[in-house]
Symmetry: C2
Subunit: 282 residues, 2 copies
């Protein structure tokens, strides 16, 4: 697998491809790739002539008390997965390559970033917007692929791309789940055996909500109650948030649900914070 660490190496490669008239897909990741990432890469491979996977644990999107230092890393395994999935290039820069010591530019999306995960993680989405802007300017992809598991990130990136006129098509891809329903996440590795079993409560609680919606339930509070009750039945689970939000502006829906909504949850299983969601259109 061709893995490069310097910005100019990526730029030169992509420029060469573009001169040949080839299209380029980007899959931005923080590495420790799992089947979710694999599905993004495969989708990118099917839709573009060349695919770049960035592997960069971005310090700017971690808060001071978050898990930047211990975030799992395994670039050799990542390279194998990328190769098997058909990617053409891995961009794996050092933090010092991406951020000058006196870096002082910020990119933010107001509103969208203040809901849901933005409450608990106030610096997170600014860091995401910053690094995605940088990656877009470095790789200049035709298309970029993001998982729907990070639904808020996907909404924020779409908004940023629209507002800043990035010439990149943003493609959201379905959540990939373990056999028991747990959404794939690099952070699942933090879970003890007992916690791993308990973590299934996230997807189960959403299943219950989806079933209720399919049966005609329209009241947002009732949907949230169904989810919370299920989550509270698991002793190891502690709710961060359970929300029914407008799927475009992410504002909480009160009263009856109409149009397209994002049903999103964040739950601590022990000390590990996990998220999950689904979108429902009426």
């Amino acid at each position: 697998m061709n893995t490069v660490h310097e910005i100019d190496e990526v730029r030169n490669k992509v420029k060469m491809w573009k001169r040949e008239g080839l299209t380029v897909g980007l899959v931005p990741t923080m590495g420790f790739l799992h089947e979710g990432h694999e599905s993004l890469i495969k989708r990118a491979v099917s839709e573009n002539d060349k695919v770049v996977v960035s592997v960069f644990v971005n310090p700017a999107q971690f808060g001071p008390n978050e898990d930047f230092k211990i975030y799992p890393r395994d670039i050799e395994r990542d390279a194998k997965l990328c190769e098997c999935a058909g990617a053409d290039l891995i961009f794996n820069p050092e933090p010092s390559t991406m951020y000058c010591e006196d870096a002082s530019t910020t990119v933010n999306v107001k509103g969208l970033t203040e809901e849901l995960c933005g409450v608990r993680r106030p610096v997170h989405f600014g860091g995401v917007c910053l690094v995605i802007s940088k990656l877009f300017n470095i790789v200049t992809p035709d298309r970029a692929y993001f998982g729907e598991k990070d639904a808020q990130q996907l909404a924020v990136v779409k908004r940023m791309v629209r507002d800043l006129n990035f010439d990149v098509k943003i493609i959201g891809c379905p959540i990939v789940r373990e056999a028991d329903g747990l959404a794939r996440s690099s952070r699942n590795v933090y879970l003890s055996e007992e916690e791993r079993k308990a973590a299934v409560v996230l997807s189960r609680s959403l299943d219950g909500a989806e079933k209720a919606l399919n049966s005609g339930e329209r009241n947002a509070s009732r949907i949230k109650e169904i989810i919370s009750q299920k989550l509270n039945s698991e002793l190891l689970a502690r709710i961060d948030y359970v929300e029914v939000a407008d799927s475009v502006n992410l504002k909480p829906v009160s009263g009856d649900i109409d149009g397209s909504v994002l049903v999103a949850i964040a739950v601590y299983i022990g000390k590990v914070r996990l998220i999950d969601n689904f979108t429902f259109r009426i």
Copy 2:
């Protein structure tokens, strides 16, 4: 002169040029073009195969009590000047083309934007960063040209380009002056005949400072005094700021001057706020 108003029209034109292997220069302006802009366009024409001039009075860079509504506009005259200077395309969008009603993305450069003009104009540079990001993503120029009259803008844009990895070379061009020394500015049109005469005090005050520096004066406070005394000798002039700043980080220099400094002033002549500056390297 080929003038287009829609984003896709510019994009398609530039993509056609790039497919032919041509280089593209961008001169971003707010229109009402004068000899300063002309010098930027001519420089761009000499260094690029194709030149785009954007003419857009950007609402985002005006504060609530500033002159957005009355800012002078004359697209027909601008088109003639662009044509004579050798530009290939004018991009002249409507504000509603550039900004969605629910636009919510911000781009900012911390630090640099809080000095000098940033004190009086707290939203200005955020608006500049936003529109320049958008224009770079729309036009994807190889080079972009900015006047050194807006020295802080130039420093901010350079920092933003570095921090966000825009693949654009930023080129600063010397201030163009009237016969008596007044820096060319679209806002000079606001001056009454009497104010126009008085406005020469800006460049004269800087001439005095430069003379002192050339004679060996190194004390920043003394340089500021020389400028302020001259400005205060003009009854119609009211100082906004007189500053000697580090030319990279724009922080005020105290004590003795060393390295490269920006000597910058902002002065009200009647109600018209004018700026001027020079850079001095020791």
